[in-house]
Amino acid sequence: MNALQIVLLIIATVFPIMWLVRRKWGWTYARWAGLILAAIIMTLPFVWLFCAAFKDKTVLNEYMFLPSIDRLSPETVNLDNFIELFSAKQTVSGKVSFWRYFANSLFLASTTTFISMVFCSMGGYALAKYRFRGRHAILGFMLASLTIPGVVLLAPNFEIIYQLGWMDKYRALIVPGAASAFGIFLFRQALLNVPADLIEAGRIDGCSEFRIYLQLAMPLVRPMTGAFCLITFLAQWNSFLAPNIFLQSQEKLTLPVVLNQYIGEYAQQYGVFLAGTLVAIIPPAILFLALQREFISGLTSGAVKQ
């Protein structure tokens, strides 16, 4: 028996005792125990990541987390990984600093998110609020298209991107994702709830159709907009395969691609990779914290409908 086993055993035995005393106590206890356990399991790799990023590369595997107090020294715990990460590297296109990659990722993720938010909500609005020929066919086609994995189209898409002269340009990544079937579907679901009377009232006031969409309908689906932004931003922020193939100049690369270069064939700088990952988590984490309420109620209004 070791300490960890004993602790788990104690946690497990407390439950029946509580439950016998009063059932409601038992359930409350189980709920908290379960949540805390789950949170520990889920965050443990992050704790490890955090510690490992600050450990010197020579002791990366030595301690489970951080060295014990008596072994704590600048030789075991230091900022070397971060210094290496943030130091501007000489490349073929001149010196490139880590912040440029960071800005690239931010720019790509936020631009794609914003553009696709506009286009997807427009498409969703059309499908939710108009009766027109081919409506069902379009919707059916969109749903069917979701089942086709992107890799199937990677090679032909390469040819198209090349023919358009978009190799090594950000538009090669922004435009293909500008209007996704999935996003249109989400917005359609949310926009179905917009009352027809409101739209009619707008028309009687002489608003153009686009103004009705922009000024009357869209403000009513704020939560969906928030949820959509979060989902799209996360997907774009972590996107790897497409940037890895379409971007070529070193200074244009995004964070996942650059960080992956630290785990190369010949030199593996895990410490630097981990430090970079730690930095890369910050923007999506802020976004999630800010948007989590809208995220959940957005999904309630969107994909998830009875």
Binding site: Q5, A38, M42, T43, A126, V151, A181, F182, A303
Partner: protein, 318 residues
């Protein structure tokens, strides 16, 4: 492509839009308006989806090599793939993964959502973030992270399993063919459990608090409350999540590919999309890859349709 497992919407019970009673004088304008709203989608889809799809379809009937070199081979690519033991292996692995995520991951997600939903607490936000956190880093990071966590002797995962059970310190998760898929499932579990939990959390917002209170007062007990109040409210979402995560499971690729630096010993981590990728980009055989793509699409369509059919009957019952 790298995506957080996004809900790829298939909920079918909601296809009918409400008719908006349009006035006649808007008729012409209205006839054009919806199409112009959809124009960006049409353009993007035509150039980056339909055309490549057509191209891939033509390729699937050809043997290819280099620009301009292709020979029509009819259904030979399909016949080869269907008879290829590697494809069977990939099919088995992918199905194994899909079943695991259905039977382990979704119930866990639901359980966590239940734990998180009841009661109000400031800590809720913290727990939500903690459980959702892996989605902030994405598949490639998770894969590299787990390569380190699964390291025999030194990896965190191995050490903790060893402390808890006394075994497994030198367990070779990523190099022992029998343990490769379980390792992938564990990594995916960690990554996706939080995302699906958010769906269930959203669904649980539909559960009427009054009904729950009433059921408690009637002495229904936790199981009774769950079965009579929660279950019916959550069923539509549950089917939605099942369909979505099945589609996601069948498109699994990047996670095992980076985790295993390939397909694992004995192809023990080969998935269908991995098989496709290796044909296209490692063997340079785009024709066969396109054929695999079509077979995969067929599989996913069939499974989705079956699940939607089943969910339809379930909804009628409820």
């Amino acid at each position: 492509m790298s995506q957080v497992q996004t809900p790829q919407a298939v909920a079918s019970g909601v296809l009918a839009a409400k008719p908006s009673a349009g006035a006649r004088r808007y008729k012409f304008r209205k006839a054009i308006t919806p199409y112009s709203f959809l124009l960006p989608y049409f353009l993007v889809t035509f150039v980056f989806f339909l055309y490549p799809l057509l191209y891939a379809t033509i390729l699937s009937f050809h043997m290819t090599s280099g620009p301009g070199v292709r020979r029509f081979v009819g259904l030979d690519n399909f016949a080869f793939v269907l008879a290829d033991p590697d494809f069977h292996r990939a099919l088995y692995n992918t199905a194994f993964f899909a079943v695991c995520s259905l039977l382990i991951q979704l119930p866990l997600s639901f359980g966590l959502a239940m734990l998180l939903n009841s009661g109000k607490s400031r800590l809720k936000g913290f727990f939500r973030l903690a459980i959702f956190a892996p989605n902030l880093v994405g598949q490639v990071f998770v894969a590299i992270l787990f390569t380190m966590l699964f390291t025999p002797r030194y990896g965190l995962f191995n050490r903790i399993v060893h402390i808890l059970t006394g075994f497994g310190l030198e367990q070779r998760w990523l190099t022992d063919p029998r343990w490769v898929m379980p390792a992938v499932v564990i990594a995916a579990l960690w990554l996706y459990v939080g995302f699906n939990m958010i769906y269930f959390l959203a669904a649980l917002q539909n559960v009427s608090r009054d009904l729950v209170e009433a059921a408690w007062i009637d002495g229904a007990g936790p199981w009774g409350v769950f079965w009579n109040v929660t279950r019916p409210a959550v069923t539509p979402v549950a089917t939605f999540v099942v369909v979505v995560s099945s589609i996601g499971s069948f498109q699994l690729f990047e996670l095992p590919y980076v985790l295993l630096q390939g397909y694992g010993p004995k192809n023990s981590g080969l998935t269908i999309v991995g098989y496709l990728y290796s044909n296209a980009f490692e063997n340079g055989d785009l024709g066969t890859a396109a054929a695999v793509g079509w077979l995969l699409t067929l599989i996913i369509l069939t499974i989705s349709l079956i699940q939607i059919k089943l969910s339809g009957t379930m909804e009628n019952d409820g």
